[in-house]
């Protein structure tokens, strides 16, 4: 938005010099001026100096169902083959009615989602009404398009509630913005899609949806080395969001599901059991 610049008082800055272009040309979204500093040399997208390349192998997923939106994420951060953390929070609480998920570069996601939170709050104060999910996600897309080809790495989902209902958007660093019912992002997303697409129904109850989310993340963490840690689950409904599970260890889930399937893990699964 064109905001008044306080440095333009006085006769030194007269109308002609300053406003001619500003008022009468369409200002496309412009990236705010943030200077990216790197420790050694220019930013590299894939590989490069591994110690700087704090990237996520990740599985995050979200889907829309009858009771709102469910988000489920893993919590592993890896730098190459080094596990830097098993307790990362990949769902970012933007404000009481918007959530963002993190995949790709942790720093990029954290910073820009915090910037979005700041913008949402400023808008709410200035205009007396909240930004819709469509507007917030579009705003983020505008920023990311400005930084296209600069080396940002983000594949995030914006999910939230507004006066028109609960909505889920996928935004990535190429400036792509998609509205959808099911998304999964990250290195483990293919595994999660397999489970999600198999069992997803819009009419699911909350408990069924939570179980589906947990299962999908578990299966992704089981097969993808870059995903793991704990599963965190959030539910978005018309009154905002609730944290359903703060961290269920996927190793515990493995044994729980194995037991449900009757697997004992002794290598003789095909053998008929006498008990």
């Amino acid at each position: 938005m064109i905001d008044f610049d306080p440095s333009s008082f006085g006769l030194a800055h007269t109308y002609q010099k300053e406003d001619k272009d500003e008022i009468n040309t369409l200002a496309l979204p412009s990236a705010p001026q943030v200077i990216y500093k790197t420790l050694n040399g220019p930013t590299q997208i894939n590989g490069g100096n591994k110690l700087n390349n704090f990237k996520h192998g990740t599985t995050t997923l979200g889907f829309v169902f009858k009771e709102g939106i469910l988000l489920a994420v893993d919590s592993r951060a890896s730098m190459g083959s080094f596990l830097s953390s098993e307790q990362v929070r990949k769902v970012i609480e933007i404000n009481e009615y918007l959530l963002g998920t993190m995949a790709g570069g942790a720093a990029d996601c954290q910073y820009w989602l915090a910037y979005l939170a700041n913008h949402c709050r400023t808008y709410e104060l200035k205009n007396g009404s909240k930004l819709s999910v469509a507007a917030a996600s579009k705003f983020l897309q505008g920023i990311l398009i400005g930084y296209r080809n600069s080396g940002l790495s983000m594949g995030c989902m914006i999910a939230g509630t507004d006066t028109t209902g609960q909505h889920l958007y996928y935004i990535d660093n190429d400036g792509m913005r998609l509205k959808g019912d099911i998304f999964s992002v990250g290195s483990g997303s293919t595994y999660a899609y397999g489970v999600l697409d198999n069992h997803y129904r819009y009419e699911m109850s909350l408990n069924e949806a939570v179980e589906l989310g947990i299962r999908a993340i578990y299966h992704a963490t089981h097969r993808d080395t870059a995903s793991g840690g704990v599963v965190r689950v959030y539910h978005i409904h018309q009154n905002g969001w609730t944290k359903v599970h703060d961290g269920i260890d996927v190793v515990d889930l493995h044994y729980q599901f194995a037991q449900q399937k009757g697997l004992v893990g002794d290598g003789d699964e095909a053998k008929q059991r006498l008990f």
Partner: protein
């Protein structure tokens, strides 16, 4: 020492004379009326031709800002054109940033912000218009008024320009909550006809509905003024 020749100078008793003088320019302008109904908002303006040779029907004083947002004014014609163009651009810009349509509050605030900008800088004069901005937000009709000082307020029914007081008294007596489009239209026409010289050719009317704007053409205005004249 005179405090009214420069814009950026307060007088000792706290007035900005240039802004006050701009509001005088508005008071001399032709009358405009806005009435908020339950499902529509009506904007009506007085038009005046400079001479018999001028084609009055080509003067358009109600500007469409967006598919369901309109603006009219009292004061300097040219200033209104510029401000309307800037506001139209801002509507589209909002859509590029946020995808949704801007709310009427937002657009009214933007317009008043533009008007305020020019009360605080050197080398320029304030816009010599007060505007009426009408549209729907969240399916509710809203009518806003801005003036050269940059103030912005919401109204149920109001009028600007010459004879504004007379029209406002009339509206105060006859406006009530929940008017249907037809009643609001008759009310606006009656209010205008009381102050406009020589009848229908000099009135422009616009009905803003939830998803569209209806600009009444010459024949429709004529018919409407005939019906209104027969009432009361």
């Amino acid at each position: 020492m005179s405090y009214d020749t420069a814009l950026t100078v307060f007088s000792p008793d706290g007035q900005l004379f240039q802004v006050e003088y701009a509001m005088e320019a508005v008071k001399r302008g032709l009358c405009c009326v806005g009435v908020r109904g339950k499902d529509a908002i009506i904007l009506g303006v007085e038009k005046k031709s400079a001479s018999k040779l001028q084609d009055v029907k080509t003067i358009k004083k109600v500007y469409q800002l967006d598919h369901n947002l309109c603006m009219t004014f009292s004061g300097l014609n040219a200033d209104a054109r510029i401000l309307a163009n800037q506001t139209r651009l801002q509507c589209q810009q909002y859509k590029i940033y946020y995808e949704d349509d801007p709310s009427v509050d937002y657009i009214a605030k933007f317009t008043s912000q533009q008007q305020q900008k020019f009360t605080q800088r050197g080398g320029a004069r304030p816009y010599g218009i007060s505007t009426l901005i009408a549209g729907f937000s969240n399916n509710k009709p809203k009518l806003f008024q801005t003036d050269p000082s940059g103030a912005c307020s919401e109204w149920k029914a109001t009028s600007l320009g010459k004879s504004a007081k007379q029209v406002k008294d009339f509206l105060e007596k006859h406006w009530r909550e929940g008017l249907h489009e037809k009643d609001a239209l008759l009310l606006t026409t009656k209010a205008l006809m009381d102050v406009v010289e020589s009848g229908n050719k000099n009135i422009e009317l616009c009905v803003i509905r939830k998803n569209e704007c209806w600009f009444l053409n010459e024949n429709e205005v004529e018919e409407l003024t005939k019906i209104t004249a027969q009432l009361q």
